[in-house]
């Protein structure tokens, strides 16, 4: 992204979209404010919305087993209840789900990726499904400190820690090419979650190849352990690579590291995700619920002078429901250079009619445009 001198003035920023992630699939109810029953899971969404979150990162916990649900019907049931309870909220379903059929016989016949592609067939439809592009180690434990897991089931439990340390996301082209095709067919927007710049490069290639044609909404996923860590220069470097026309970029990170990164995101005009899936703590090392974290993001944003998005504004910023019909249209809207044509040399620019543009009256910080306009000829008596 390119920052002009007025880009970092809060009144010029798009209102802040706060994503709530209150379903913490990695935690037990005793670890954090984890909802279990259907009513609790719905109420969590309502509470987050009332606190200022306009997008909900949805995981479903099966109240009968306590595990993350792998039941397609349960997802539909829960999405239906969410649509009733928080009709304006943007529903973003976490994409790391492999649905399981109900009977043991059927389970044996199902193809692995088909169980993931079923996310594209959810009914009612979510607004977005997160899409990983590029297989990644996702060792969320490596960046955690002992303080981070005090009072949780991970504390003094090296076996469980090792299980989480070994997490990785399977997202090769055999998965994401078909998945993106099916998302488009069902008009569900992908929400990209690159873990480093080179996964953004994969996404750009998909856009240039016409595999994805639509607005760009993405997280920068920095959980360490194979994804981006906490070095602010790396975050800035990534942000520099994001095209100017991206609709929204949200900083995702974990534990107390999320707090300064969220502050960075807010003052840079980007967006934040908070909640117990990512963090359990405040800066003072005492616990914060998901709602308290949202309230903190709202406070910080207002203190800085930036507006917090309403649900309607968030939908407009993300261009929910918009699709493009060609590669060129997509590249143009995303602020990316065109694809190279055969035999074309040099750096790539969009063709213009060759006419000089009208000088801006301000905003690009450069006075040269004024200097080039001839001053009026003095009138003599």
């Amino acid at each position: 992204m390119y920052y002009t001198p007025d880009s970092i003035l809060p009144e010029n920023m798009a209102p802040l979209i706060i994503t709530a992630a209150p379903y913490g699939p990695e935690w037990l109810p005793g670890d954090a404010d984890i909802p279990v029953s259907w009513d609790e899971q719905v109420q969590a969404a309502v509470d987050c919305y009332n606190a200022g979150a306009t997008m909900l990162h949805v995981h479903v916990r099966d109240p009968a087993t306590g595990h993350g649900s792998v039941d397609f019907e349960q997802f539909n049931y829960f999405l239906g209840r969410l649509r009733q309870a928080v009709p304006k909220m943007i529903l973003q379903v976490g994409g790391s789900i492999s649905f399981a059929p109900k009977s043991a016989d059927a389970k044996a016949k199902w193809l692995d990726y088909d169980t993931r592609h079923m996310l594209t067939e959810l009914d009612p439809k979510p607004d977005c499904v997160t899409v990983a592009v590029g297989t990644t180690q996702w060792d969320v434990v490596s960046i955690m400190t002992p303080d981070d897991i005090v009072g949780t089931h991970l504390e003094n439990n090296p076996k469980v820690q090792a299980a989480w340390a070994g997490m990785w996301v399977d997202a090769g082209p055999a998965f994401y090419l078909e998945h993106l095709k099916r998302l488009r067919a069902h008009r569900i927007m992908p929400y990209f979650v690159p873990g480093h710049i080179h996964q953004w490069e994969l996404i750009e290639n998909l856009i240039r190849a016409g595999v994805y044609m639509g607005p760009l909404n993405m997280a920068i996923a920095g959980y360490g352990g194979g994804t981006l860590g906490r070095n602010p220069y790396d975050w800035m470097n990534f942000l520099q690579r994001v095209p100017q026309g991206a609709s929204s970029v949200t900083f995702w990170s974990s534990m107390r590291g999320l707090i300064p990164l969220s502050a960075m995101s807010i003052v840079l005009g980007q967006h934040v995700r908070v909640g117990n899936e990512d963090n359990l703590w405040g800066v003072d090392k005492t616990r914060r619920t998901s709602v308290q974290q949202i309230e903190g993001a709202v406070r910080l944003c207002r203190e800085f002078g930036r507006k917090v998005a309403t649900a309607e504004e968030a939908r407009a910023i993300m261009k929910i429901g918009t699709w493009y019909d060609s590669v060129d249209e997509t590249l143009h809207n995303l602020g990316l250079p065109p694809n190279r044509t055969e035999g074309q040399t040099g750096f790539l620019l969009w063709e213009t009619d060759g006419k000089k543009g009208v000088a801006k009256t301000g905003g690009d910080s450069h006075p040269m445009a004024y200097c080039m306009v001839a001053p009026p000829v003095p009138q003599t008596a």
């Binding site: 935690w27 109810p29 259907w38 349960q74 049931y77 070994g166």
Partner: protein
Amino acid sequence: MPGLITHFEIYGDAPDTLAEFYREVLGWTLNRAEGVDYWRIQLEAGAAGNTSGGVTYRPALPIKGWLQYVQVGSVDDVLATAERLGGRVVRERTAVPRTAWYAVIADPEDNVFAIWQPDAKAMPLPEPD
């Protein structure tokens, strides 16, 4: 109370159809619990020997017939005793959230039953997805 049967379950690949079967054959009232694949059997309230039950999908276990759940003081202790006496663990200790721990055992003659330890704090460990 330990030793008493708490409830029973009936399994099938089409539990909704199976629920209808029991409605017709035994006159039971079966209602699907909201948002989960479990058809609760509602027997006459207060009747002598009243034991509740449910119909659901067949788990990946070698179980045919109704599965009886027997209350125990400690699932872990009972599993150890059962194994020592020639029984076999069919399903390891498993949580029913905020309700109980249970496990499934085959006796030395391969009769299968479940044990049930009430615990309002029961919850399974999360697993990386």
